[in-house]
Structures are given as C-alpha cells and as structure tokens.
Amino acid sequence: MTALLELEEVTLRFGGVTAVDKVSFSVEEGEVFALVGPNGAGKSTLFNLVSRFYDPAEGDIRFRGESILKRAPHEIARLGIARTFQNIELFEQATVLQNLLVGRQRHRRGNLVSEMLFTPFVRAEERRHREAVEKVIDFLDLQAHREQYIAGLPYGVRKVVELGRALAIEPTLLLLDEPASGLSVEETQDVAFWIEDIKTQMGITVLMVEHDMHLVASVCDRVLALADGKMLALGTPREVQGHPRVIEAYIGAHGRSKVMA
C-alpha cells in the first residue's frame, strides 16, 4: 500500500477563524477513507483544499508524492481527482447525458479548430466518450433519465447523477462530499453498494465526508474524526466511534453514546 493523497500539517484560516488546524493524514491507494465530525469541523473545507478552491496558509498537499499546491483548480481533475458537492452542483440546463459528458473534459483530445469543423477524429472521440459514459449509466442504473434535464429531476436522482459525473472523469481518487445526505434508507444502501463496487471493481480510492455512521461503518476502511478544524482520532470506524475525544466532541460528556453507535 502506498499513499495516494497526503496532507501534511495543512492549516487554513478565514480571518481570525482557523478552519483547518494542522491536519495531517494520508489516504492509501485502494482504501475508502472517511472524514467525520460535527458541523463546522472543516470536512468540506478539506475537500475544497484538495480541489484547490482554497489555498492553505501552511502545510503541503501531495498527490502521488507530488505537491499539488502549484496546480490550478481545473488541473486537479486532469490529475485524476474527481469530486462531488454537498449541495448538488450539476449543470441544470443540460440533460443527464450532457452532464456526464462534461466529466469527460479531462479526456478531451481534439483542438478548437477540429471541433468547430467536426472532423472524423472528433466524431470518433465523441463515440468513445459516449461509450465511457454509457458504462457509468449502466453502473448507476440511470438509463431511464438519460435524456432528462437536471432541472426536472428529483433530489435522489440528482445525487446519483453527481456521482456518475465524477465517475465519468475516470478518476484514481474520488472525493464524495456527503454522498448519502438527504437520501432514503434504500437509496443510502444503494450508495453503500456502489462505493463498495467503486473500490473493488474499479479500483478507485475513495475519500468521503459522511454523517451517516452506519454507512461509514459498513464501507470505510479508516476514519478520521475532526472537530473545530483539529484532528481528534484516526483509525478503523470502530476505534474512532469508541474514542473518548470523539464522543466528547459530539455530546460533550463521557460514556459511549447512542448517537455514535
């Protein structure tokens, strides 16, 4: 096992607030790694740091041993890091198919002129992109929604489309920001199966933020608990759930809680 993504002493401040305080961890290749913690713990902020939407004040973020801090946000996807958003960020005025095809930007090989003239090469590329996207549609059972506009889709389907769009990138590392938030029990179960398959069949490493501890316990190999931007505990889901500092951060008292069980 080698470290795919490493964060070293990463610190981010918004004015006087330290949103992320010297956080260090590494995600090993092939594992499912979860970030948990109460609201405002800095989980999503960490995602935005890896996506390069924010610049850390201190520390380093390395992907495959190479610092990504010199990279622009749009280069992150090209490295093979895909992400979803907590508040769905789909392209509303486009169909599901078009949304998934945007995920193929990383694999774009035509240039401006060849695309404007629609050369046979561009057509062949389009077929290739479509094939890759169809695989994702098959995997996530989105066939029924292929031609529908996002603006008319229910929340649960949007959530799946977002996952699909990230998969269309064909990433090596997938960042999922609360993949099960707002989903029903069955839908959450689907997400659990998908994450399992993404890990074992596609060989994609997953880093996710999630509040649903059942989901975390069932699919994650390791968990990092955060509170107020600080690291609390790192280990297997069981270890982290039982960690006294984690329990204290959630309910402010000692003793094993039902909230975390």
């Binding site: 486009a94 945007v102 629609f118 992109h129």
Partner: protein, 366 residues
C-alpha cells in the same frame, strides 16, 4: 409523435435527429436559395438584412445563451469586423474572400482581448464592462480618423469574388446568396460547437463555474474562447452590414445596436440557434410592419401621413416586456411548447415546461 429508434451513438451525434427532420431543413434551404425568384427586390433586401442580424444574433448567442456571459457591447465587435474588412480591402488591397474572414478573425482577437481582463466579472458587472468597451470603440473610431475617416465614415466597396462584382443595389440576388452561404456556414459551426466538448465546457461555465472547475474545465480559458468565437461571428455580421449599408461611420454601431442585439436574442429565445433567427425576423420585419400599419391607419382616417418619432423603439420595448412577463423562453420556447402540445395530443400537461425551483447552490465559491 415520432419515436426514434437509436441503433448507434451516431444517432445522438448527427446533425439531424431523423430523416424527416433533415428533409424539412433541406426544404427550408431550398426555399431560402430560391427566394430571389419568389419575392421582389425590396423584400429580398429585407431578407438579407434579417440574415445579417441572425448571424450577429448567433454571435451574441454563443456568449450569452451558451456560456452565460452578458454583453452589452457587441456593437463594438460589429464595428471591428466592419472596419477591418473594408480597411483590409482599401489599404492592403486584399480581395473580399480574404478580407472577410480576416475581418472576422480581427474581431475574434478583439473579443479575446476583452475577455482576458473581464474573466473574473459576473452578470451585471460584466455587462457594464462590455458597455464601456462599446463606448470606447466608438471613441477610438473617431480618434483614429486618418485610418477610419472619423465621423465622415467610410464607403464599403462592392464585393468582388473571382472577378464577379457583387453589389447590394447592382445585383441584390448575388449579395443575398453570399449572406445566405455565410449564415449557413455559421449555423454549421455553431452546431458543431454544441455537440463537442467545447460546447459542453461553455454550458458547464454557464450553469456552475465551481463545478466546471472540478470537472477540469479551465473557466477563464473557456470564457476567452467563447468571447473570441462570439466576437468573430459578430464581426462577420458587421462586415456584411458594412457592405449592406454601403456607407458607415462610428454612429452606425452605436449603443442602441448593442441593446437591440441583446433584446433580439432574448425575444427569439436564449440558448438556441432558432432563437437568433426568430429574433432577427422580429427586428427586420418590425419597421416594415409599422410602416404598413401606419399607411393603413392614415389611409383609413383619410389624413396625411403622420410620423411618430421613437415609435419603433417603443413597440420593440413593449414586445420585450410582454415576452419577459409571459414567455421568458422567447419565441422558440413558445414554438417548442406548441409543437409538444400537438405531438403529445391529448396528453399535454399545463405544467410540462414549468421549471422546478433549484436547490441551494454554493454561491460563495465562484
């Protein structure tokens, strides 16, 4: 309703959905080609004018409808295309067949130059910045009088293609066909943009910049490319406008033209090629319709002809207000609804096209 049985991905990649659709467009192309035999010279001139506006509309549509960037200064690119085309012919002695695409390229370059400093501006602020550029170009034309002849303006020479002289008044048919060919080529170019990663990158920037970045779209570059293509197409329209008008100066491409262009594509229907054409029909037909209506009214009342200054602008504004209130999707949107009604008859539901309220979006990260 026609059910298309798709047996290959090409069914979605091709220009037409099915043979019947291709047939209808072939018929339209044939009609457009034969128009000189169908209407008199006056209406042919109006059709030519409409096509030029449609080309300019498509130019602006790439930017506003596809990429979601507002521009209140597209008359500037009309001017750049127009002046560049004529100056290349007059000062460098280039033939039309070279000066015309070069004029478009010059406008495209101007578009990219505008996009670089304005890449971080959004919505209203971008509209104000482009407005300023429009005013700036107006002033630049006056200031560089040795080249542009300032407020006196320039004459557009007759077009000469391989020894064939094409003049709007001398042989309006040929001029119409030149404009028609350009319009068809621009439509093809536009369609190709829409069905390639380029067009999807534009749509991504329009709908969610933060998400576009996460998908690997270089947002600043996509905006610059969009500005370039948009300004280039508009520049071509500007060059044709110059030849159509015969004489032009800085006033030809004033602020009102920019606004009219923007209103035109809103009335036509944002985000569609059809919209640019529908909008252009309204813009081109309106003055004639008003004139005809006025003649009818004065004739019926038995009074001498009355002219009301600003009537055209007022009616245009009224039409816009009606559209924004009752049909924000424009003429094309209304057309799609009517078509769907008949295709699905009797299963059309009233709320079929009602947009659902969008969910919370991460606006704090642009």
């Amino acid at each position: 309703m026609r059910t298309v049985f798709k047996t290959s991905y090409d069914a979605d990649i091709n220009l037409f959905r099915h043979r019947a659709q291709a047939g209808w467009y072939a018929l339209l192309a044939l009609l457009a080609g034969l128009l000189p035999w169908l209407v008199n010279v006056f209406w042919l001139g109006e059709a030519t004018n409409m096509l030029i506006w449609a080309i300019a509309g498509m130019g602006l549509m790439v930017l506003v409808g596809q990429t979601g960037q507002a521009s209140l200064g597209h008359a500037a690119f009309l001017a750049v295309g127009c002046y560049a085309n004529v100056l290349y012919q007059q000062k460098l002695g280039l033939p039309f067949i070279l000066s015309f695409p070069l004029g478009g390229l010059t406008a495209a370059l101007a578009g990219v130059l505008v996009a670089i400093p304005t890449a971080r501006l959004h919505g209203l602020y971008l509209a104000i910045a482009t407005l300023a550029i429009s005013i700036l170009v107006d002033d630049l034309i006056v200031l560089s009088a040795p080249l542009t002849n300032g407020v006196q303006g320039l004459y557009a020479p007759p077009i000469s293609i391989f020894g064939l002289t094409i003049d709007r008044y001398g042989n309006p048919y040929l001029f119409y066909w030149v404009v028609l060919v350009v319009a068809v080529l621009v439509v093809l170019l536009y369609r190709n943009i829409l069905r390639t990663p380029l067009g999807r990158a534009f749509a991504a920037v329009r709908d969610s910049e933060v998400s576009a970045k996460a998908m690997g779209v270089n947002v600043a570059k996509a905006k610059a490319v969009s500005f370039g293509i948009s300004a280039g197409i508009t520049g071509l329209a500007g060059a044709l406008m110059g030849h159509f008008a015969g004489i032009f100066n800085n006033e030809t491409f004033n602020l009102l033209i920019s606004i009219q262009l923007l209103l035109m594509i809103v009335i036509g229907g944002l985000g569609s090629i059809h919209g640019a054409f529908f909008g252009a029909i309204v813009v081109a037909i309106l003055p004639q319709a008003i004139a005809l209506a006025r003649d009818a009214v004065t004739g019926a009342l038995g009074v001498s002809s009355i002219a009301i200054p600003g009537l055209e602008t007022a009616i245009f504004g009224a039409i816009l207000i009606v559209f924004i209130l009752f049909e924000p999707a424009g003429i094309y949107g209304r057309w799609v609804k009517i078509r769907t009604y008949f295709e699905l008859f009797p299963f059309y539901r009233r709320d079929m096209f009602r947009r659902q309220r969008s969910y919370l979006r991460t606006e704090r990260m642009r």
